[in-house]
Structures are given as C-alpha cells and as structure tokens.
Amino acid sequence: MITFDFDYYRPDTIEEAINVYKKITGQEKKAIYYAGGTEIVSMSRVNQLSFDSVIDIKAIPECNVIETKDDKLIIGSAVCLTRICDFGGYPLLGAVCRRIAEHTARDMITLGGNILGKIQYKEAILPLLLTDSKVTVAGTAGKSEKPIDRIFNEKPLLNAGELLVNIIIDKKYINNPYSHSKKTKQEKIDYPLVTIASVKNDDEIRIGFSGLCVYPFRLDIIFGNIDNTNPESEINNILNRVPAPIVNDILGSAEYREFVTRNLLIDLFNYYGGMN
C-alpha cells in the first residue's frame, strides 16, 4: 500500500510528456517519469520516494520501439527486458537481460528504468557501455542524440525533466565475440555479487563490471599486451584501475568480491584464448 497520494498522467507523445512535466514542476510540485514502475512502486511503498505526479511513458510510440534500421539497433527506453531477450537483436544484451531479476519481473522492468533507477547494479547498461551506444534524450529544447556516458557516468546525468527516449546500438559490434557471467551470493535470482560482461573488438577487450563498485563501469585492455606467463600481475593491473572502492556489504565482503572477480577474469582470459 502506498500511503501518499499523487496524480497519474499517461501522455501519447514525447511533447505531451515534456509539457506535462514542465506544467507540474512549474506549480512547485515534483514529477517523475514512470516506466515499468517496479522501482517506483516498491520504493514508494516503504516511503523511500516521494513525488506529486507520475508521468507514465509506456504509451509513447518512440519509447516502445525495438527495431533494426540501417546499421543501428534502436531500443525504446520503455521496452521491457523480456521483449529485448525475445527480439534477439544483440546476443550479449539478451544474455545480460535474461539474468536480471526473473521472467515476470522482466515483463515489467524496462531498459530505461534499469539504467536510470536508483538501484546501483544497472546490469543492462554494461552491453551499452561496451559498444559506445548512443541515446536520444528529449527535453524542452527538443530531441538530441548523445553518447551513453553523457547520461550515465557513475550516476544518472539527465537534467530535470529530460526524458530518455531510446538507445541506439551500432550493429558493427553486435556479432563480436562476447562473454557474460553473473555471480550471486547464493540463489540464481538475486542482485549480482559481481557481473562481468565483455566484448572483443579487434585486439581490445572491453570489460563491463556491475556489483563490484557502487556503480557499473567499463575498463578496456589490449589483449595482445597481456603477459600470459604472469596472469596474477595482469589481473592486479586491472584491479588497480577499478575506479571506486570494492563494495563491502551483506551480499559479500570486499575481499570475497575481489576473489570472485579475479576468478571471473581468469575465466575471461581463458575464454578469449589468451591465458594458459
């Protein structure tokens, strides 16, 4: 039961969404965009969120599209994870989404909500960071296309009132060799202790991490430079570049997370054939 009251709007166009946001906030009230609603409802129930209005974006056609166009895969921000898995246009993204929550939750959780929500894991962003994806953002000044790291870098960076419309993935990366591994504390379905996703691009391996730090991030390595005779030192080099402290919480201590990460990196090097 959500104990506080709010208004509900379901615009049919991007313009309506932006205008209604502007109108509500112009009355000194707080509005939030509402996609799958899973995070908004569960956090509101325990009074961890408060707002005066929700703007449900699921009826906006541009937020609902999933299509390949020319050399791009375009996924609307309100497309749910189940649809992404079933569409199958980007195998790594499908593999990552298939391990987020469970099937019925994936019918509701949207790609945009996973990236822009408060829950720190945001596993679905990993394949997007690894492929230098772009996003379309709409605001009062109209629509613009930006690199994904302009809307997420350690934290969501959208300005108040800006709406994430879609994500644009360059198809040149889609069939590259990739790997994905999610380790949880105990149950198969849980938040990650550590999730690693990677893409090989020529001599470079791009590695995305979720769960290791309080935000997901990407590190690149030049595969040819790896010293096969000394895997420990290569892994130390990678761990030295981790951009924030390793998380130490009820799912796992920092030491255990580092141990799991080391093993995942050995698996990753073995998978790409670089380590004996």
Binding site: M1, I2, T3, F4, D5, F6, D7, Y8, Y9, R10, P11, D12, E16, V20, G37, T38, V41, S42, S44, R45, V54, D56, K58, A59, T82, R98, E102, H103, T104, A105, D107, M108, K188, I189
Partner: protein, 154 residues
C-alpha cells in the same frame, strides 16, 4: 492523454467484463482487485515483487499486480485466476498433485497458463525460466513442471 487525480472512478476490463471502480492513482492493481472487486484469488504475499503470488495477465502477459498501479491497467485486458474457466492447466495441477497449501497456486497456474499459451511447444529451458518467477514453499517444483509439461504434450 489519460490522467487521473485524487480518488476517481476508473474502468478496468477484468476477465472479459468492464468493471467500474473507485481508485486512488496510488492504489496497486492487487489492492483494487482484492479489496474493491472482491477477486481474492489473486494472492498478496511479499507485496514487493519477489514471490509472484499476485500474478495476473495484462494483455496475455504475466505481471506482478503488487508492483503495478490500477490506473496503469486502464485500457488493457486483465485476466485473474477467476477468469480462467476450466483451462487445461487447472486440471493438470489437480491431476499431477501440484498443490499443497495452495497459496502460491493461483499465481503458478496463471503464469503456467500464459506460458503454454504463448509458447505451446515450450522447451524445458523456457519452462524453467518462467517458473523461476514463482516461489512455492510447500511442494517441490517437480509436480508443477509435470503439470506444465502435460499441457504442452496434449
């Protein structure tokens, strides 16, 4: 643009009938189904998206009614366990003894019914993927899987 303010009258299309009900925009679909429409077959358990006992179908797809606003369902077709009239899955759960206390059963059946409707030839992998959503604290999942498979093999 659809909009709702304060407590207002909304129309929900439930089990083939148009129902008129008073709801706050903050009311979950689960709350309105159970407390206003008396459709208590849909169970409340965790209220937090973790167990799937509250599963209903929205346009044929399973959703957690505890994580959905009732106003969000306006304009969509909702199917609750009461809307399944003698579908093969109900019979299969009885025949395979896939029930003990029965608390998870409406959510299990509605999810399994959607699964076999959407994927009439579902593989073991797909069955496992879908059933992972529903938590049952009494039975093993063996009988439940057998019930689902018996409908697929019909």
């Amino acid at each position: 643009m659809i909009e709702f303010h304060d407590k207002s009258i909304i129309e929900l299309y439930v089990n083939g009938d148009l129902k008129t009900v008073a709801a706050r925009p903050a009311d979950t679909l689960l709350f309105i189904l159970r407390e206003s429409l008396g459709l208590t077959g849909t169970k409340n358990s965790c209220g937090n998206g973790d167990c799937n006992s509250c599963t209903v179908l929205l346009d044929g797809w399973p959703v957690k009614s505890c994580l959905m606003l009732a106003v969000e369902a306006v304009g969509h077709e909702i199917t609750t366990i009461e809307g399944l009239q003698d579908v093969p899955m109900q019979k299969a759960f009885v025949e395979k003894s896939a029930i003990q206390c029965g608390y998870c059963t409406p959510g299990m059946i509605i999810n399994s019914h959607a699964l076999t409707t959407i994927y009439p030839d579902a593989s073991d992998e797909i069955i496992e993927e879908w059933l992972e959503s529903n938590i049952c604290r009494c039975t093993g999942y063996k009988e439940i899987c057998e019930a689902v498979k018996s409908v697929i093999n019909m």
